[in-house]
């Protein structure tokens, strides 16, 4: 089963910037993920100031350039994992947040876990 996980939090980082220890712990976590075969790929997202939202409301398409100051939680990064059950994906998400808890005092956010599906509606393998 393939899952895509998004890590989301307040982009303005009221708790301060990520300390070096976080990067180190995240690096180790990713290394472990590759070595146990669960991590397929991962990536970080740039600040919303570098992005835009294209929306369709009341039959009108509008473009809103970043930063998206109104949104409380924004996606900061993603990972594609290959696991055997949803619980495994949840456990990996829990560990990701544990790393934040241990290494980034004050950080708050969430990890959204979504199963990937193929074009024909079957679960992606």
């Amino acid at each position: 089963m393939r899952f895509m996980s998004f890590i989301k939090s307040d982009e303005s980082m009221p708790w301060g910037p990520p300390p070096p220890a976080l990067f180190e712990a995240m690096g180790q976590f990713a290394k472990e993920g590759y070595e146990n075969g669960t991590l397929v790929e991962q990536g970080g997202l740039g600040a919303s100031g570098q992005g835009a939202i294209v929306s369709l409301v009341d039959n009108t398409i509008t473009v809103l350039d970043g930063p998206f100051t109104e949104a409380k939680e924004l996606i900061g990064g993603y990972a594609v994992t290959e696991v055997r059950t949803k619980e495994e994906a949840i456990e990996l998400g829990r560990r990701l947040l544990q790393i934040h808890l241990d290494n980034w005092p004050g950080w708050q956010g969430s990890c959204e876990i979504r199963q990937l599906f193929a074009d024909d509606g079957a679960p992606a393998t």
Partner: protein, 423 residues
């Protein structure tokens, strides 16, 4: 946490951690069966404690600590009656009874990548039969339970359980089976590991249709083992070649059979149904292999052939000349006559049926292909394209008598009948 949620969460932790746990324990206690028992005991302890206490922050370390404490207990008991255990107990005991358990656990987890590779090597020890190798790999490295393995191999749980018992005994009797091989032995052991992984993949891949969920799971497991090997042996081109091959083949999974389970041949597949993620990963793995090695090995060459198909937007775009060249390289590595037959097909697609037929005619008398249905099937196809219908018909009929697959036989007889039609 409700009991059911807790046990599912524990099962997830187990799936994620059992390989590394068993691998590290094998290093510490130097006995595959004992290591597995200790890991199981740690799991039982987790099932007893976690539902009430919650999952610990670091479940891997918890399991390792628990398993090591059990090991210490058992060593102490054994010390009184078993001298050989006592020796190991003394050697390891100092480390294990250390009060600073956290430090020793971190220490134990330090070499864990090496441990996993060593565990793979042990599972593929030459003293074991190929069945034992695949079963042990699924059990110890894959973390599958006996029931799942039985389902993968369409056999009974009792057979699998017995196979595991016998394999462990063989390893214990082989002497030095737990030693990491080096030099040429290491290369050949790694080759054995790769062939077990590919065998597992094919076991899952060759079963078409059906609603059995274990077969696709076997492919996923093989892909996962391939990714692990890629992370553990990043400089080995064949490791990446094998991953590339499995990814590229996986890309076609959904396109290779119709809704009723009828197999669809590669050239007839709807390529829009190929899985882009697998395809992309396969091509990336192949690029990695090619960057490492200019003298490609077996898996890399097979992957390169699969990539020729994967890159072609339509069947007509296939670079057959390149495929023929790759088959020639495969043949030079000591490929089987089947490789030559595939080369003949590629040559015929690149340069016309007459060129392919010249090579096929040289293969007709090979003993290895005497009863291989694809030889007359290919020959019939080439003869048909050359307008030699009567000879083609005889070949299709012969192929039909040789194949064991009902659907394929019907297809071949249809082609034979078509040879009789005018035009």
């Amino acid at each position: 946490m409700p009991q059911q949620d807790a046990s599912r969460a524990i099962a997830a932790v187990w799936r994620l951690e059992s390989t590394r746990l068993i691998a590290a324990l094998v290093r510490i206690v130097r006995d595959v069966g004992f290591a597995e028992d200790l890991a199981q005991e740690a799991l039982v302890a987790a099932l007893a404690q976690w539902p009430a206490a919650g999952i610990p922050d670091n479940p891997a370390a918890w399991l390792m600590t628990t398993a090591k404490r059990r090991a210490v207990d058992q060593f102490r008991q054994a010390e009184r009656r078993d001298r050989s255990y006592a020796v190991i107990g003394r050697e390891q005991g100092g480390e294990m009874v250390d009060d600073d358990v956290a430090a020793t656990v971190i220490n134990a987890m330090d070499h864990v990548e090496d441990d996993v590779l060593r565990l793979m090597f042990i599972c593929c020890h030459p003293a074991l039969t190929i069945d034992a190798q695949t079963t042990l790999t699924l059990k110890l490295v894959g973390g599958l339970i006996t029931k799942e393995i039985a389902r993968s191999f369409l056999t009974s749980e009792a057979t699998v359980a017995q196979r595991v018992v016998r394999a462990k005994r063989t390893l214990a009797e082989a002497g030095g089976a737990l030693e990491e091989p080096d030099g040429a032995a290491r290369a050949s052991r790694l080759a054995a590991v790769l062939s077990v992984v590919y065998l597992l993949f094919n076991e899952g891949y060759s079963a078409t249709g059906g609603d059995d969920w274990m077969r696709p799971a076997l492919c996923a497991e093989a892909l996962r083992l391939g990714r692990i090997l890629g992370a553990l042996q990043p400089d080995n081109s064949e490791v990446h070649g094998l991953s590339a091959l499995m990814e590229l083949q996986s890309a076609r999974t959904r396109a290779r059979s119709g809704p009723d389970g009828t197999p669809i041949l590669l050239l007839d597949q709807d390529r829009s149904r190929w899985d882009r993620t697998h395809l992309r990963r396969g091509l990336a793995e192949l690029a990695r292999a090619e960057a490492l090695c200019k003298q490609p090995g077996n898996y890399q060459l097979q992957a390169a052939i699969a990539a020729c198909h994967g890159r072609a937007p339509t069947a007509a775009d296939t670079d057959w000349a390149r495929i023929a060249e790759l088959y020639e390289q495969l043949a030079r590595l000591g490929g089987s006559p089947v490789v030559e037959l595939n080369r003949a097909v590629a040559l015929s697609m690149a340069y016309g049926p007459a060129t392919g037929l010249t090579l096929v005619d040289q293969l007709v008398d090979l003993p290895a292909l005497r009863n291989y249905h694809l030889l007359p099937s290919v020959r019939g196809d080439l003869l048909f394209k050359l307008g030699r219908h009567a000879e083609a018909r005889a070949e299709f009929e012969r192929a039909a008598t040789l194949t064991k697959h009902t659907r394929e036989r019907a297809m071949l007889l249809n082609r034979a009948a078509a040879c009789a039609e005018p035009g």
